[in-house]
């Protein structure tokens, strides 16, 4: 599904990703944990195609294609979805119109005809229920005036609508209370399938109580320094990141 080999990237004058490797197979859920400033969000932004970052070397292939050569929209059309850490408020653009345009542009890319209005509305209704998002929110401007929890639920709602094959969740748990966290995690769990992979980026272990990963990676200083089964997350929670940092420095 996704293969990242020896990726080096950053902003001009500062390298942030320093030799990052990751293999994600279809249906797998990978968690990437790590202290602040280790490059987790930079990684997710690079994968989604944000042009502020410069890739200096390395390879990223996504479903057999060179991801780095694709525009952000083509990455999305190929089935990559980034749930933003800070979803943008876009006044004046209705959530529903925007999703309809997105869905139909993705369908056009796959040589499919635009979705019929009534099928689209049916889909909206069905997917909204998944994240317990109220109908009124779907009709408002994109994220405008949404609470933190509503914004994150809206991200998962969009994910459900666009049916991507790889979902990157960038600190989706940040700013969520326990109820909202449960709703978001339930939504994600319902979307898990053998064809769909997840990369869950998080600072805290608590999200992983709900979205149980197959593999946990620890990222530090721009690369993965430790990988292990889901129990690794619990160990990190107990011992903190200093333990990994120390191990890394000693190595």
């Amino acid at each position: 599904m996704l293969s990242i080999k020896n990726l080096h990237a950053g902003i001009p004058g500062r390298e942030i990703i320093k030799g990052f490797n990751l293999e994600v197979k279809a249906g797998e859920v990978h968690a990437i944990m790590g202290p602040n400033g280790s490059g987790k969000s930079t990684l997710s932004n690079i994968l989604a195609g944000r042009e502020d970052y410069e890739v200096t070397s390395g390879e990223v292939s996504f479903r057999g294609k060179n991801l780095l050569e694709l525009s952000p929209e083509d990455r999305a059309r190929e089935g990559l979805f980034l749930a933003f850490q800070y979803p943008v408020e876009i006044p004046g653009v209705s959530n529903i119109n925007f999703l309809k345009t997105a869905l139909n542009e993705i369908r056009a890319y796959k040589n499919l005809p635009p979705m019929e209005a009534k099928d689209f509305l049916k889909l909206v209704k069905e997917k909204q229920a998944l994240v317990e998002l109220q109908g009124t929110l779907a009709n408002r401007s994109v994220n405008e005036g949404f609470s933190g929890g509503e914004k994150k639920r809206n991200e998962i709602f969009q994910m459900a609508m666009l049916e991507p094959s790889l979902c990157i969740l960038d600190e989706t748990d940040s700013g969520l209370d326990i109820d909202a966290l449960r709703i978001v995690a339930n939504g994600v769990n319902k979307l898990r399938s053998k064809d769909r992979s997840f990369v869950v980026i998080t600072h805290y272990q608590r999200l992983l109580d709900y979205i149980v990963p197959d593999i946990v990676h620890v990222m530090y200083d721009g690369k993965i320094v430790k990988s292990g089964p889901k129990e690794l997350a619990l160990e990190l929670e107990k011992k903190g990141y200093d333990w990994v940092k120390k191990e890394f420095v000693e190595a």
């Binding site: 929209e73 990455r75 999305a76 980034l82 943008v88 876009i90 006044p91 997105a102 542009e105």
Partner: protein, 438 residues
């Protein structure tokens, strides 16, 4: 202000002679009071002449350049245009007035079953023949030097009179067409009067048609909104290639009256709009909204002035601009609050998106407040298209072009949403979509 510095060197040499010719020929049969008004206006115009860029009000808009090309104020009616009414009008049910280069056009379709007392006609014939006294009272010499030039040279224009207690549901469309192969200075003049408790919706549309030379359209509109009356005035400046539009509107509001206006400027070369609102009674409300989308070397200048003369009035200005290419824009909004105009609420906002590195906007608020219990504010922002929002939309699969259009449309929608006439709103939404796709 700086008008003292502007010397009257700005009077095109042939204009005085042309004015005399017009007085002795075209205007010769007019009543004396009107000829006197024309002379007085020409004198007032001559004090300053065409404003130069040294005048503060015209600092960013070079009207002298517009008048420096050869032009003539002497021209005749044209009656041989092949107009397709289904394309040039916005609302098929409206009452229609057509003017060509400042003259009434024969195709004007005046509805015969207007409510009692309503007048929708033209100033030069119907106005002077049937409503001379009204014109004598209402045709004042308001506005700046270019408005004075209009007052001296006007040929014709709309006369709209809505009597007391009359609610006119049918919108009135005033269409002005600039046309021909003669570089004329057209001076249409409109007069709109809404008496106590009346209401009307008016659409003023400016276009050019088969225009093979440059034409200056220097129009002036006086609007008086009586006690408890409401006027909605929509102004569209589109498809005016080769024409330079100079338009001044002076609105006088009496107590409890409402005036709402939208100025939408799209495809044109040069536009200067002056919008002066005088809130002369208590509890008046006035909403001034504007949207302009420019490209190429277009120039759009919106000057507004809201005068709060009485207490408890509210005024609200929202102007938005989307500028591309090497186009230039100006927004200058003045709010003047008299000492007695306590409890005034006056707001002003100018927001602009620059799509290119070579486009420019000059925006300037001017607040002059002499009362001490008021709420007045102004805000201005100019920037590029929101890159964060653009990335967000692209990350969901929208192509860059369609994401930009979606964002620009959202930006423009604030102004479009203030339009109450659904027919017009749909027309403009489509027009703007076409323009942005451009």
């Amino acid at each position: 202000m700086n008008t003292a510095i502007a010397r009257p060197t700005g009077i095109p040499a042939h204009l005085e002679g042309e004015f005399k010719t017009l007085l002795s020929k075209t205007f010769s049969s007019e009543p004396n009071w009107l000829k006197e008004k024309r002379k007085e206006a020409f004198e007032k115009f001559s004090e300053t002449g065409i404003p130069s860029r040294r005048s503060e009000e015209y600092k960013y808009t070079d009207v002298k350049k517009i008048f420096s090309g050869g032009f003539t104020a002497i021209h005749n009616e044209l009656h041989k245009l092949k107009l397709d009414h289904s394309k040039i009008f916005i609302d098929k049910n409206s009452i229609k007035l057509i003017f060509v280069n400042g003259w009434l056009y024969k195709d004007s379709t005046l509805s015969t079953n207007l409510p009692k007392g309503v007048v929708v006609g033209n100033l030069a014939n119907e106005g002077l023949l049937l409503h001379s006294q009204l014109l004598q009272n209402k045709l004042n010499l308001s506005g700046d030097a270019l408005a004075q030039l209009n007052h001296a040279l006007w040929t014709d224009g709309a006369l709209i009179f809505i009597p007391e207690n009359c609610i006119l549901e049918t919108p009135i469309e005033i269409l002005h067409i600039a046309t021909g192969n003669n570089p004329v200075l057209a001076n249409p003049r409109h007069l709109i009067i809404a008496e106590k408790n009346s209401s009307a919706n008016i659409i003023e549309n400016n276009i050019s048609f088969e225009l093979s030379t440059s034409v200056i359209v220097n129009s002036h509109t006086d609007i008086s909104v009586g006690e408890n009356a409401r006027i909605r005035y929509y102004r569209l400046q589109n498809e005016c290639k080769n024409a330079a539009l100079i338009s001044s509107i002076c609105v006088a509001q009496e107590k409890n009256s409402h005036f709402d206006t939208n100025t939408i400027s799209l495809e044109n070369d040069f536009v200067r709009n002056n919008l002066d609102i005088s809130l002369n009674g208590e509890n008046c409300e006035s909403h001034l909204n504007g949207l302009f989308i420019t490209d190429g070397t277009q120039h759009i200048d919106n000057h507004s002035c809201v005068y709060h003369g009485q207490p408890n009035c509210q005024s609200n200005q929202l102007y938005k601009g989307i500028l591309g290419g090497k186009s230039t824009g100006v927004f200058n909004g003045k709010i003047f609050v008299e000492r007695d105009a306590q409890k005034t609420n006056a707001y002003q906002s100018s927001k602009n998106i620059l799509l290119s590195d070579d486009s420019t906007i000059n925006t300037k608020p001017e607040l002059e407040i002499y009362a001490d219990d008021v709420k007045c504010s102004h805000g201005s922002s100019t920037g590029k298209i929101d890159q964060e929002a653009l990335f967000y939309l692209r990350a969901r699969g929208l192509g860059e072009a369609s994401a930009k259009i979606l964002l620009l449309h959202a930006f423009a929608s604030d102004v479009l949403n203030t339009i109450r006439d659904e027919e017009l709103k749909n027309y403009l939404t489509e027009l703007i979509e076409k323009n942005l796709n451009g």
